[in-house]
């Protein structure tokens, strides 16, 4: 028999990719295509769902052709996707009723405030793990029902389907209307305990049940693909951050992965019971493999990490490319007393202060651009520390190893600083494409391409490792100073400027 591979489709915010993996979890072929970002008004972001589908079909075909692999060599297809992005389409014609509303879109601002008027921002938190916020799909569905002509009526007649991008792709490929627990957990509409749509939340948001897909596990055969990969089982669906957790083989409670890009997403496996956060983290699903119990997770995101480096490059012009930050930061031995808190649009987890704005604190005549560069890298590390402390407190487990991925992991100095401030081992895995790998793993498990989770663990190899070198008293003093800088960001925006 010819060599078999698993195809992972990563339907992301800016592009769609297809990566083929072999049995050792190695990348065999990659293809990628960007799609348009549509900005109809300030704060609005949309995608053309049909353009995305065309791109997905193209990257699947091209990833095979590039490496002379034929469709019969594909054992399974896995899907990972940008989360929360919301689409409604016609059950009969497959025609979207409106562009997909992207997760960053803030048009549901007023709606979210209105929904929170009764019971506050955490009104549904006990059931769905999430605070009311513009990101999540539930309010976006409601906006479409209220604002696009004829949609409410067609929905009431049962003519329409809702889906996040995973559901849209699976429906296009197999004709089945399904989603997985991780994607469903980002709608605000799923009950974390029962893993079913919650009638009470649906009623409160006034969303008809008939729109919603069936909630399935993250790893099972949803159906067979038609088209170019005809007959190949479509066998996994995981939101991007959940897929990265799985691809990093964070299978044990307390395992944490951190994806360092423009922002940073930290996710901790908390085992088979949902953990309610007292520290402003999100409770979410980790993954669910077939009939095995669902694994839950705590998620904390940091809005500004890599984008602070870009700010240094584009707004201050201190460096001409992002990687040069390391070169500049290494011209000095420490931060020279300087701290940067990049609260560009407020402080998120675990502070949640929208009135905060960024500061550069501790400036003296001694501070030079090398110190500023160092403070920029340290800001990513201390923000990680704050989220990890919150995770440790909520889950009552102490982090021992942080598994990192994403573009910023190329910065060795940042990785060392992370290890120093967390007082924990920081590990970069061999395959940096953990999101796609996670989707491939889940699909491969479902069809028996990989026999079990232990095999996946054996595939995981360290590409690099950093261990703490900072003396405890230095760490404590620096954390104390960081916290002082954080306090100086508060109460900056006063009520009248807020609009």
């Amino acid at each position: 028999m010819s060599q078999q591979y698993v195809a992972a489709i990563d339907q992301g915010t800016t592009s769609s990719r297809c990566i083929l993996f072999d049995r050792d979890g190695r990348i065999v072929s990659v293809d990628q295509r960007e799609h348009r970002q549509i900005f109809p008004k300030p704060g609005w972001v949309e995608h053309d769902a049909l353009e995305i589908w065309t791109n997905v079909e193209a990257v699947v075909q091209d990833s095979l052709r590039k490496s002379d692999i034929t469709p019969d060599q594909i054992a399974a297809i896995g899907i990972t996707n940008q989360r929360e992005t919301t689409l409604l389409w016609d059950r009969e014609t497959g025609e979207p009723v409106y562009n997909a509303i992207v997760w960053q879109d803030t048009r549901t601002d007023d709606l979210v405030r209105e929904l929170g008027a009764e019971g506050g921002q955490d009104r549904f938190r006990a059931k769905c793990g999430l605070p009311l916020a513009t990101y999540f799909s539930g309010p976006k569905i409601r906006w479409l029902l209220d604002n696009v002509k004829g949609v409410r009526e067609r929905a009431d007649r049962g003519e329409l389907m809702f889906g996040t991008m995973d559901t849209w792709l699976i429906w296009k490929m197999t004709g089945r209307h399904v989603t997985d627990v991780t994607n469903a957990s980002r709608t605000m509409l799923m009950n974390l305990e029962t893993l079913a749509w919650d009638e009470e939340i649906l009623a409160a948001m006034d969303i008809p049940r008939s729109l919603l897909p069936e909630i399935r596990s993250s790893s099972e055969v949803y159906g067979e693909s038609n088209g170019y990969l005809a007959g190949v089982p479509v066998a996994s669906s995981l939101g991007d951050q959940h897929a990265a957790l799985f691809g990093q083989t964070c299978f044990d409670p307390g395992d944490v992965k951190g994806t360092y890009g423009t922002g940073t997403f930290l996710v901790m496996n908390t085992g088979t019971e949902p953990v309610t956060s007292n520290n402003g983290l999100l409770t979410t699903l980790g993954y669910k493999i077939g009939d095995a119990p669902a694994v839950y997770a705590l998620e904390g995101s940091i809005a500004v990490t890599g984008s602070l480096v870009q700010w240094l490059r584009d707004n201050l012009g201190l460096i001409s490319s992002a990687p040069e930050i390391e070169t500049l930061a290494r011209t000095v031995d420490d931060n020279g007393g300087c701290y940067i808190v990049p609260a560009f649009s407020g402080l998120f987890a675990p502070h949640w202060r929208s009135d905060a704005r960024g500061v550069i604190a501790g400036l003296t005549g001694y501070v030079n651009k090398g110190h500023i560069a160092r403070a920029v890298l340290e800001a990513s590390a201390w923000q990680t520390r704050e989220v990890v402390d919150a995770m440790n407190a909520d889950a009552r487990i102490d982090l021992t190893t942080l598994k990192v991925d994403g573009g910023m992991t190329a910065d060795n100095l940042l990785m060392q600083i992370l290890s120093d401030v967390l007082d924990a081992e920081v590990v970069r895995p061999m395959v940096a494409e953990t999101t796609c790998l996670g989707a491939a793993y889940a699909a491969g498990l479902a069809v028996g391409y990989w026999p079990d989770i232990e095999t996946l663990r054996a595939n995981w190899h360290k590409a690099a490792e950093w261990n703490p070198k900072m003396p405890a008293e230095v760490r404590d003093r620096e954390y104390h100073n960081w916290n002082k800088a954080v306090r100086r960001t508060l109460d900056w925006v006063e009520h009248e400027d807020q609009a």
Partner: protein
């Protein structure tokens, strides 16, 4: 404050003059233009030639700006940037070869390790980014020496005459005669890759290939290092499958840096 140094001022004048002439200038032309004795000009030219700022055309004998001067002018490739661009390809090389991967750039007279990927097994390994390796006893260094005119061992650059140069020995296999190393470099230029067996560490072999940027300039080298039993075959040659992995990775990184495929 110390006074100005006349010979540096004269060197600067020569460089400015050479920068203005596209076809290069003869010794006589330079000495006439600057109203300096030929002997003085020749001494300065030789020194500038030695540090790579001036080249002499072997046929016409004319002088022109050297490669070292050109790489000063264009922005030099930051090692951290090279690592960022090479990250995925270095991982792929480690996973295909099953060996540890290093990327090196020239730093003064040594190889600076700017990236290191662990060997994909469960053994304990330590990151050695920032380490300096000898040019003449590593595959990374030999490749840099073969393709970068500025990559010269300390021992060679500090010798004024053409007397035979003895290089530092690390094992009984280290090739310590510069003349013998030069012969190896000819082979590397011919093949497009280089290797060494047990020249730095007993029992270890390394294989490397050059990374080029869009100007075709060699900006670094990527290679694998591992046990002699795995990387050398029974007849004493390097494992050609590993060589092809290394060359694939070098080509892929070069392509990412904008080099046209060769």
């Amino acid at each position: 404050m110390p006074g100005r140094i006349q010979s540096i001022e004269r060197a600067a004048a020569i460089l400015r003059l050479l920068a203005s002439g596209a076809r290069g200038l003869s010794l006589a032309e330079i000495s006439r233009s600057l109203e300096l004795p030929k002997g003085t000009v020749l001494g300065i030219l030789r020194t500038l030639q030695h540090v790579g700022f001036v080249e002499q055309d072997p046929e016409s004998g004319r002088y022109r700006l050297g490669g070292g001067m050109l790489s000063l002018g264009t922005r030099y490739l930051d090692g951290n940037e090279l690592r960022t661009r090479a990250l995925n390809w270095a991982d792929t090389l480690a996973s295909r070869s099953g060996e540890s991967v290093r990327i090196g750039t020239l730093h003064k007279h040594q190889v600076l390790v700017v990236h290191h990927v662990f060997r994909p097994d469960s053994t304990r390994q330590t990151l050695d980014v920032g380490t300096l390796l000898p040019l003449h006893a590593t595959a990374l260094g030999k490749v840099l020496m073969a393709f970068d005119p500025l990559a010269v061992p300390e021992e060679v650059s500090s010798v004024e005459t053409d007397a035979p140069v003895e290089l530092t020995s690390f094992t009984r296999h280290t090739v310590t005669s510069m003349a013998a190393v030069e012969r190896q470099l000819d082979g590397i230029r011919e093949n497009g890759w280089g290797w060494e067996a047990e020249e730095l560490v007993d029992g270890e072999v390394s294989i490397a290939a050059p990374i080029r940027d869009r100007r075709g300039v060699t900006v670094g080298a990527i290679g694998v290092r591992g046990a002699v039993e795995r990387l050398r075959d029974a007849s004493g040659n390097p494992d050609m499958e590993q060589v092809s992995y290394v060359r694939d990775a070098a080509r892929a990184v070069s392509r990412d840096l904008g080099a046209t495929p060769y």
